[in-house]
Symmetry: D2
Subunit: 136 residues, 4 copies
């Protein structure tokens, strides 16, 4: 696990485990969404504050590689690191860990949008600042 | 299964089945919500039309009895029947069936509200009409 | 909030909030399931240990009353209290709180079953002990 | 929409729509999972039959591009096409359509595994046959 990456604990819910006994694939996107929100809050931008300021982040691409399974009762951690920050979009790299085993790698591309429906916009300074938080 | 009740087919998703091999309890509320929407549409009121008219239905109480399990791949059917229609609230009775086996019984109480945030209101005539649809 | 009840923190996920801006009803059952697992673990019985001992708890009845909404970003707490402990079944009373506002009350009846498929059984002593934990 | 691709209808559930008014990202993986199951069944292999024969398909990679939003009440269709069929893995290409608007493109890589826990295996002939179904 990257020693400097932001870390977000995940509680695997019983309902997320399918009859194969492992977390069903879609819930990893729920974990990453939670971790993204926590990452921004840690960087000084609670999601609510971003919305109140008239901005939102919209997912346009995601890719997931699974390296192993995650079972009920496992302690899981999601790390978050900004991979690229552009003009109107940014990419976050997530890793899901169970103890010292890497379970999944996720890359998600977000586009900065206005909440008034006018669409894509330059990443506002409050979001840009939150994406480059001080080391934890 | 009540021969005159409205029926709504349900596709059990793989992800809804937990490691006990049966549908996890909360998904029954998803099935009933789907069935309620279909029931109103069958009664002439697509949900979107109710919202556009400035009304919504808010769940204030629900109770579920499980009589047996529901497995992945099962064909399930939800029946819907109005149980009571009051001035500002109404109660729907749902049953979830798998072939000719009754899996669960659900009763849900809804309150009619305005979407403008002014809260509880008398059941509007468009909703009242949809709750008493012609026999299917 | 009952000062002696067991308390379990809940993180409301963005995806659980519907277009009305409030947590969709079914997720309350997810919160209570999480809280029940935490309650048993607090009482000395991790869920995994109960399964490994050949026992499980099956939900046969639940009822929910909503007193108000729960929004994204709200800090929520679920309290858990045993309401009745019988020979083969037990009832837990849950309350969902947002700060000092009671959002929902839930009562759920569980039946003790064996994991070997032989069905209902007397509540085993390990579960009975966990249901009456020392005051927290 | 590819005129020869297998098509699976999707009913967007109210609960899947978030407070932005659009389907939350993770549910697209639920839709594709449903469509994959239907695709195999259409090819002659109900999922249950594959499991009973001792085989399963495990997701190891997925990637999603969103081209636009999907709202509650939208009629959606998922198309499924085999993109590559290897020795132990295969790739399915999905597209999610709302009427004639392409909403999302998904590529998922599955590995053939045995259900006895012995792991990765050659794609069994029953699965290989189902992946190349007769034109619908």
């Amino acid at each position: 696990m990257d020693p400097v990456a932001f870390r977000h604990p995940v509680g695997v819910r019983y309902l997320e485990v399918d009859q194969q006994g492992v977390v069903f694939n879609m819930w990893y996107l729920a974990y990453c969404d939670d971790a993204m929100t926590a990452f921004l809050a840690h960087g000084g931008l609670p999601y609510r504050a971003m919305l109140d300021a008239g901005y939102d982040a919209q997912v346009v691409h995601t890719e997931i590689d699974w390296h192993g399974p995650l079972a009920f009762g496992a302690d899981a951690t999601v790390t978050v690191e900004p991979e690229q920050i552009g003009r109107t979009s940014f990419t976050l790299a997530f890793e899901v860990w169970s103890a010292d085993r890497r379970v999944a790698s996720v890359r998600t591309v977000y586009v900065s949008v206005r909440t008034d429906g006018s669409g894509k916009c330059e990443i506002p300074s409050l979001l840009r600042a939150a994406l480059a938080p001080p080391a934890s």
